[in-house]
Amino acid sequence: MNKLSRILLAPIKGSEEFAERFLFHRRLPVLLVFAALTLFLAWQAVQIRPDASFVKMIPTSHPYVENYLKNRDDLAGLGNSVRVAVAVNEGDIFTAEFQETLQKITDELFFIPGVDRSALTSIWTPNVRWTEVTEEGFVGGPVIPADYDGSAASLEQVKLNILRSGQVGRLVANDFRSAIVQVPLFDKHPDTGEKLDYQALSQQLETLIRDKYQSDQISVHITGFAKIVGDLIDGAAQVAVFFGIALLITLVLLYLYSRSITGTLVPLACSVIAVIWQLGLLKLLGFGLDPYSMLVPFLVFAIAVSHGVQIVNTIALESARGADSWLAARRAFRALYIPGLTALLSDGIGFVTLMVIDIRVIQDLAIAASLGIAVIILTNLFLLPVIMSLLGIGERATQRALIAEQKQDSNWHRLTWFATPTGAKFAVVVAGILLVGGLYQGQKLQIGDLDSGAPELRADSRYNVDNRFITQHYSTSSDTFVVMVGTEKDQCSSFNTLSLVDRFQYYLTNIEGVQSSVSLVNVSKRVTSGLNEGNLKWRTVSRNQLVINASLSYVPAGLMNPSCSLLPVIIFLDDHKAQTLQRLTGKIEQFAAQHDSEQIRFEMAAGNSGFEAATNEVIGTAQYQMLAWVYAVVGLLCLLTFRSVKTLICIIAPLALTSILCQALMASLGIGVKVATLPVIALGVGIGVDYGIYIYSKLNTYLVQGMALPEAYLNTLKTTGKSVAFTGLTLGIGVVLWVFSPIKFQADMGILLTFMFLWNMLGALVLIPALACLLKCGATGIEAISTTEAEVKDVVK
């Protein structure tokens, strides 16, 4: 173990001398290089653009999504789409003004870039038709007749057509007071290949549609993934304001703590530089900023601040011992090099392991976070001491450090009770109780959305109000789940296929949570009945293949593919809650297992709920995979650094407790584990391990000198412990204000991060000495001393 760790960690330890001499040899050129890099990367960072993508949110190698991507071309309009509902405030939609407005809106939407024009549907598009059976046979036509002129008679005709077209509840509200335009979007334009610009689209929807047409008589409601993302991106400005507030609070509190202007401004400046470098590097590598990764820059800032405060604190202590600014900075650099580097490496590599999760958004977040951490090594471990060596920490701070060190009776004394056997047992027992409570509560943690609408936004946000409007007034919810029924070529309309699909749809309607379903079968049934004078006895799938063929002579787009080998069954759900989806997929799998064969296969899934089901599944396993990887990496690095399993337990146990309690908190607050919230717990581990490594390293330096644990711990508290407590509190206070953010996603994250900052701090300060005491961690270094002494003797001989 010793030899292995020595080999693996030799580069870290060996590099210190080189790094120290390089940085302090000629400080001005070093600063100039840093300044130049900062300017360059700042210029890059301001060019960074929001970069959202529908496909990035879904797990692309999940079988459901693979099936979807395989059949994507044949499934027009079932992927990414937006629905625009135009409503009248009084009366109904059968007025000339309304119809004119609807027509104009449809036309406006047609021309917006990114819209799949051929699949655009509204009562004003030619692909929406009515059919009727008369004595002469079938009669049909577009819902808006060719001779429409806005007169009362025309409007009557339209009303009739709508009733006959079956669009009530779909494109026309049940109460006839609004109509929908269904707008499918291209994630990537098929001709030009350019990605959909969500922010631009959202803007255009607002300016060209809502702002233009909304009035006293008419209201516009817009829903869809693209709109959520657009609103989130617009909310980014708000998010930034809250970051700014957190930054200011950190500034003020840091000054009050250190009473040193340089000791406040320099670490904060270096932390901000770290964020600038991170954003600049992301831009250079071709990434954009995802609305779900909006929090990563703040996280980088928070971790940078906690390291910066450690270094400034150590510089203050060295100054108190009489060193000038150059000497103090140099000694602090050397003293904190290994713990700082180890903590940051374990953070960085820990975040990289998030790449195992198959969702692009999370992989991008992993890259962004690891880049940020790597940059912190350069800005806060290297640049910060160099700047402080030139500026010094100031007289007042030095005096404070001196006084604090000489104070015999300090408040920290009380905490050393946890380093005594009684206190330690007490702490561990309490931790145990919390652990059990947390595990119990954490079982209630749900995967996926727990509420309807968009949980990233507030319940009273414009988007969610619009979403409720649409759900209330229409029969087809926005939650669609598509099962792709695959057959051999030209077999999609065979009797065997259709009758089985019919049975399938019947099976579906009996599943709780399913509102209705639509497929080729419905068309066939209705038209067959229509062909036979509307007789209800004929409203079935005919055994006669020729009758079936006749009934399918005109099929609306999206219900069949050109080679007749695929027929989608579109299922409308009450909601997209995790339970509903799980139930549904379970039942479909059962059916498929029973009925799949060479000729017919029931494959899942498309539609936004289909993707959600796939995502939920991936997240369910990913959640534990991710934690396992992060803890493995962090644990390994701690083990290599400290070369003791007992120390490993001391550092990891508080982290594990925090993770479990955080899950319990999420369950209590009704926050589900989704793509947006999944990485939070892993990020929390990254934040917390820094505290543990710093505290234990300092504790060890005293233990190695032979001090007893309580005394060693008191000294640790007076130095490193102070910084840890300060950082945890400050960041917690800065982040708790996010609760007031209009973006619910940010508010949720605020609560979770506050909890993690405070709890990690508490856990590190209380549990580490308690566990160290109980595990008798005194002897880590001592046997190693005798071996190194023997080595020295050998060499000198």
Binding site: R331, I338, P339, N700, Q705, T788, V792, V795, V796
Partner: protein
Amino acid sequence: MLLNKRLLLVLDQQDDISLALERCHLIASRLQSAVTIVWLGDDQVKAEQAMAELMTDGVAVDLRYSTRHKLLKQLAGLLSQQSFGLLIKSCDPRESGFMTSMDGHILRDLPCPVLLVKGDQLWQDGVVMAAVNALTHDPHQLQLNDDVLMVAAQIAVVTESALTTAVACPSAMMGADPVLQSENLIQAKAQEALAAQLSRLALTVQASAVGEGPVEYWIPEAAKQLKARLVVIGTRARGGLKGALIGNTAERILSRLDCDILVLRVGLSDEVVPLIK
């Protein structure tokens, strides 16, 4: 090194030449070595004056002229033709911008020991301080330590001064090997290593200053504390890229010391060994 070998004296016309000249005079007359003066500048009168001063005690003097630009090349040429025991120069660590100083170049590029003169006190009955790196494991460094100690001892004997040593210990580093985590332990280890080295070389010192580094801080501190008149130190003489990036400690110390500095390069052992009596 010092006996029966020529001394090379570099005098810069623009600076105050008296210190270096005086020192050279003292050394040359004590050891009866020949001196070659390299005069930077073109004032023949002054140069010949200097030459005359040196020749007073029967010392053989040879005068050459040079300029700052050609100095290094000329010195290198001279050193390759004849073997010089010591290069004496007045200490001028001024750096022009980000470039290495002239002294730095001399320390890096020339193969002989260099004495940089800063003080005017006699070495006689004073204190000679040998700065060693007691905690190294590198064989070259260990050899250099030995050389430094031997040379310092020799000079102490010749000038009847007290021999002292100074060791700058690295400051405590959290998370490193346990011994390196505590100042006290590091210094205790350094003391032990130093004692072992001294006993191996059969030298006794009057005092040892073992303190917390970095080197650039502690060696000047120790020199002040011990009131050293001469500090003997080794250098790794890093040149090129490494020299540009991390530099040499010996060069860094030049500006912080106010006594004379004798710098030995890595690899001079074959010069020093024959002197051990």
